[in-house]
Symmetry: C2
Subunit: 329 residues, 2 copies
């Protein structure tokens, strides 16, 4: 019998972001069967977004010719601080949410067990389980996109600290008098090396008269710049963009060095839109810099690699979360 | 009967540093009964230092009118990367040691069980157990002296990572183009806020013509400057020294903020010679800055305090280590 035949064995993983909701249906083997994308519509308020998350789950299940009662559970990665035990989003600036009992609200809407975690934790969990078979004892996940987030696996388990806020890798201050970060501090890794930081640096230089191929690619619409545009410009020979991206890679490398010195992990995994688009340009520099900055001894056996899960890291990790939790219960 | 009467129940804790060896004898209650200090004499080589450690243990025991066969075990905090399981000092720059099987060598010399850990880990363990009764689940210890070191307690246990090198708090880069650190990197917390960093900043300014009361206190011998001299100068109204010390406190505060964002601990404990001498001048600034830089949510219930164990943190923690290990076996 094919693995799609049994009842109540499928898992839905949801990646809830400030812009879009991605829902994927997984077989028990964690094979991805199908997915659906909706826009989040934060401006419509908490209830509307919860409805849309529920809709994304139902549509993904329908897309796979399945029924909701064939679903064992739903996992969700949400942006911000999440209280896993209470199933509560404590604070999610991108959603403008505070204290939302998401687990309870979605279980009401979907009539199936719902499990909730921070989005970067969920991505890290997905990589740890799906790419490494759950083997690494200590692993750090770093996801570089609009912002920079992270997840920490210690002793084989997600580590989230006293108040579920651990792993704020993007807000590690690395330049005391550096650029202002959206968190209010200065010189955070996120303000140095996220897509936003890279774009800000390019825009400021263009304003000062810097020439770049990005003007040909994007016209005047620099606001719509994507990581892929940077790659295009670099591959067409734009030395200026190349330098900005290489500098960001160096910053990320120093950040990885800091984390290696603090956590002494076996594996550091990099992911997110910037890394997905610019791996060829950035990874070598990140690895070289991190190894330079790490203390002797800490790099023995250390691997610094990228995830191949790409955009599916979040939904995969959310499915892993459900699998782990249902196994425990 | 007083607790000094039973046989084989006392514990010796040793704090091995690059300059001195401190050995203390503890009752089973962890009451400190007596201690002995020897200079380390690194220049005499590994075997001579091992002999001196053994001597410090025997002399401390004798000082308390006890006999070596009344000792259950000896705990040692050693500077550098330590492989606890193997009882091996992997690398200790201050001792110029590489791969020294310290546990085995000392058990030969002392005929009692020896347990070995990194010095900052041992200090953190001492504070965790002796000052907090082992209660905090997640705690970070930061020790500011000639350098800056740290220890990490996660889920109630010392965390040392994949290769026993975790917790290198002093080598977190916080100023990308900052002053060179003795580790070779630039802008490490240690290069910004250790006693060495404070002294270097003062000496450079004096060379440039800066007036300071330290010249009255120390004459020309700035090389002998101690943390207590800084305190004296500040209390006599030296605004220049005050500013340098306050700036160091701010750097430490940002470092604590970084650690709170990464580890989300319940307690951050500060200790070491600089903190012991300058607590009144530094602690408030450290706390204020750390709370400013920590993410919302991470500071809920967070305590940032100093240890009262002072110079005895190392020997106390070493004794705790023995107690924990002998209980397990």
């Amino acid at each position: 019998m094919p693995e799609t035949s049994n009842k109540s064995e499928f898992i839905v993983g949801v990646d809830l972001g400030g812009t879009k909701i991605l829902a994927g249906v997984f077989a028990p083997s964690l094979k991805l069967l199908g997915k659906v994308k909706l826009s989040t519509k934060v401006e419509r308020g908490v209830d509307a977004v919860l409805d849309r998350v529920a809709r994304s789950v139902r549509e993904a299940v329908d897309e796979c010719d399945l029924d909701m009662n064939q679903c064992r559970g739903i996992g969700i990665g949400a942006p911000g601080a999440v209280d896993f035990e209470a199933g509560r989003v404590i604070f999610a600036p991108n959603l403008e949410w505070r204290d939302v009992l998401m687990k309870k609200e979605l279980e009401k809407r979907l009539d199936a067990p719902v499990f909730l975690e921070n989005d970067c934790n969920v991505c890290t969990l997905g990589v740890h389980e799906h790419e490494f078979g759950g083997k690494p004892r200590h692993m750090i996940g770093i996801f570089v996109g609009t912002g920079i987030g992270g997840g920490i696996i210690l002793d084989g388990k997600l580590f989230s600290g006293a108040n579920h806020t651990a792993g704020e890798i993007g807000h590690m201050v690395m330049q005391l008098d550096g650029d202002k970060c959206r968190c209010g501090n200065k010189g955070c890794l996120e303000a140095l090396a996220s897509r936003t930081a890279i774009f800000n640096r390019i825009q400021a230089a263009v304003k000062d008269g810097q020439k770049t191929l990005l003007s040909q690619i994007l016209g005047d619409k620099f606001d719509n710049m994507k990581s892929g545009d940077l790659r295009k410009a670099i591959r067409r020979g734009d030395k200026f963009v190349e330098k900005v991206v290489e500098q960001a890679a160096e910053y990320i490398g120093i950040g990885v060095g800091n984390l290696v010195n603090l956590f002494n992990p076996e594996i550091v995994v990099l992911g997110g839109g910037v890394i997905d688009a610019l791996e060829d340009e950035m990874l070598k520099i990140i690895i070289k810099t991190a190894r330079e900055y790490a203390m002797p001894g800490a790099t023995e056996g250390l691997e610094i690699i990228t995830t191949h899960l790409g955009n599916d890291a979040g939904i995969t990790g959310a499915a892993v979360l459900v699998k782990q939790q249902l196994k425990q219960s």
